[in-house]
């Protein structure tokens, strides 16, 4: 099936795929996950990214970051490790070069926001509010990026710290804020309940697990940062379980992710309580995965006699 045929099929079935996250309306539930689509330019060479539900761009910080030394990535059995280290050109460049372009082509942009202290987070939010609020669909607060030394993880691993950070952000921006939960906690429910008590608009989950790879010959870690984020199909069972639990404690919209590779994966994520889904690692092996799974999803819906994807939502809980 040619790409334009795929796009047309999706176009004709948007009434079966459209998603409402509170007041936010998306044409379909699929978006590439942050850090797995850069700022969209590359994927746009394969298909028009304004056809996506949305695009979650790379974590953006107040000032430019070089990120970590290499090796930054490594393969595992059915997944991968990464320790990129939040490399990004800083919020100003992101707005001028990327968000402006994404807006001009009509893409729904979700800006992933990262920092190493509350202030640096707030700076980015302020900047977005001041210069890009009409160009941005939502903010995704990365409180869990596990691969930055002295940073990230602690915000997402203590309920009170998390709550404080979210409150500081929602104070300075009118852009809907989604909090991206880290799976590497004792109780994901506690974290979700903390977010539920804030003005956060919704939740995205899960970020990467944390793992390590060793070169058996030298006995040394392969990733320069030693410890890295673990993603891909291998983490899917963990993602499904945590979204299932979080859905039990909040009614806020959830954008689910973690190892999604296929249309049946999407149905599983909707079943445990996701309202929309994101695809990360799978983009690396197939640049058109986000379009391909929508085509497959429609085929399965026809076969199962499902009119609208909403019929899949939350079935694991009834």
């Amino acid at each position: 099936m040619l790409m334009n045929e795929k796009l047309q099929l999706i176009e004709e079935n948007l009434h079966r795929l459209n998603v409402k996250l509170g007041d936010i309306e998306l044409p379909n539930p699929v978006m590439p996950a942050s850090g797995c689509c850069a700022f969209g330019h590359e994927l746009n060479n394969f298909y028009p990214i304004n056809k996506l539900g949305a695009i979650m761009i790379k974590s953006t910080t107040d000032v430019a970051r070089d990120g970590n030394p290499n090796h930054r990535i490594y393969e595992t059995s059915n997944g991968m490790l990464n320790s990129i280290g939040l490399q990004n050109p800083g919020v100003d460049v992101v707005i001028d070069e990327h968000i402006t372009w994404l807006d001009s082509i009509g893409a729904n942009t979700i800006v992933n926001l990262a920092g190493s202290d509350t202030e640096s987070y707030v700076n980015v939010a302020r900047e977005l509010e001041a210069r890009a609020k009409d160009k941005v669909t939502a903010i995704e607060l990365n409180v869990s990026c596990p691969n930055v030394k002295h940073g990230g993880i602690q915000f997402g691993s203590d309920p009170q710290t998390l709550k404080n950070l979210v409150n500081e952000i929602t104070k300075v921006t009118t852009i809907p804020v989604f909090v991206k939960l880290s799976p590497n906690v004792t109780s994901i429910k506690e974290m979700a309940m903390a977010v539920d008590e804030t003005d956060a608009y919704g939740i995205t989950m899960i970020n990467t697990l944390v793992g390590m790879a060793i070169d058996y010959r030298t006995g040394k870690p392969i990733i320069a940062n030693k410890i890295a984020g673990y993603s891909g199909p291998a983490i899917k069972p963990v993602a499904l379980k945590q979204i299932y639990e979080v859905r039990q404690v909040t009614n806020k919209p959830i954008i689910g992710m973690g190892g999604i590779e296929s249309a049946t994966d999407i149905i599983e994520f909707l079943s445990v309580g996701s309202d929309a889904i994101a695809i990360g690692t799978a983009n690396f092996n197939n640049p058109t995965i986000c379009i391909d799974v929508l085509v497959d999803l429609l085929a399965i819906m026809d076969e199962m006699g499902i009119d609208h994807i909403d019929e899949f939502k939350g079935r694991a809980h009834v």
């Binding site: 990120g67 930054r72 990535i73 393969e75 059995s77 058109t288």
Partner: protein, 238 residues
């Protein structure tokens, strides 16, 4: 740049631990010397980056060495079709009257298309090839069609003993080099000439979306898959 499944025309051992893989390609896919492909290995999660060693109107050739699990699996399998993403990355700038090619190990693979293209442009080509040992020698014969070829082996079992670093180079010759990082750094700093170096890094996507292949060069952090693999020689000089 596209992801496609190509028919295997040839897949055979050409030297110790070294294999040649020839795939049939549609004519609209037109690689340039120095570009690479991401090659699917059944049973492995990520694709493997391999330089396009050579190409014709309707074929593309890879030469790979068995290094770890993926290349081992590939060498042991006989697939009818292989999924590849290509062509990827930057290519060598061919504008020069005199070219000195310095390549080591699997870095020799992309020299085939490069030497051929330079030769067709009427450029004078001197090729220096470094191998670990005699039985790992490949492409040397073919490259003689395009210019002078000097062989080096670490153990002296063939050609000059030692690393592949020619004593001196014609001062207005352009250097084209591909090989392990230490070799590239040596080349970058031993010769004053301008030139183009092709480098390696671990890759997840191969087309710029993961930032996994980024290395620090003089002008900053660069994606080997997108800003490279071919960079200007100055970038490596210190």
């Amino acid at each position: 740049m596209e992801l496609t499944s190509l028919k295997v025309i040839k897949h055979e051992k050409i030297a110790a631990k070294t294999y040649e893989l020839v795939l049939q390609k549609p004519t609209h896919i037109c690689p340039q010397p120095g570009q690479f492909a991401m090659v699917k290995v059944e049973g492995k999660f990520l694709k493997r980056p391999l330089s396009i060693s050579n190409y014709t109107e309707d074929t593309v050739t890879f030469i790979y060495k068995v290094l770890g699990q993926g290349t081992k699996l590939l060498s042991e399998s006989n697939p009818l079709d292989i999924e590849v993403m290509l062509p990827l990355g930057t290519s060598f700038n061919l504008e020069t009257k005199h070219a000195t090619l310095i390549a080591g190990g699997v870095g020799i693979a992309p020299m085939a298309a490069l030497a051929k293209s330079l030769h067709e442009n009427g450029t004078t080509v001197d090729v220096h090839l470094g191998y670990r040992t005699a039985e790992e020698v490949f492409l040397a014969e073919e490259l003689k069609k395009y210019g002078t070829v000097t062989i080096y082996t670490e153990d002296g079992t063939a050609g000059t003993k030692g690393y592949c670093l020619p004593q001196e180079i014609n001062s207005n010759s352009t250097i084209y080099s591909c090989g392990p990082h230490p070799m590239l750094n040596a080349v970058a700093n031993k010769y004053p000439n301008k030139g183009w170096l092709s480098t390696e890094e671990y890759m997840a996507c191969g087309f710029g979306i993961c930032a996994g292949c980024v290395i620090k060069l003089k002008s900053g952090m660069k994606k080997v898959c997108q800003d490279g693999p071919v960079f200007a020689k100055e970038e490596f000089e210190c």
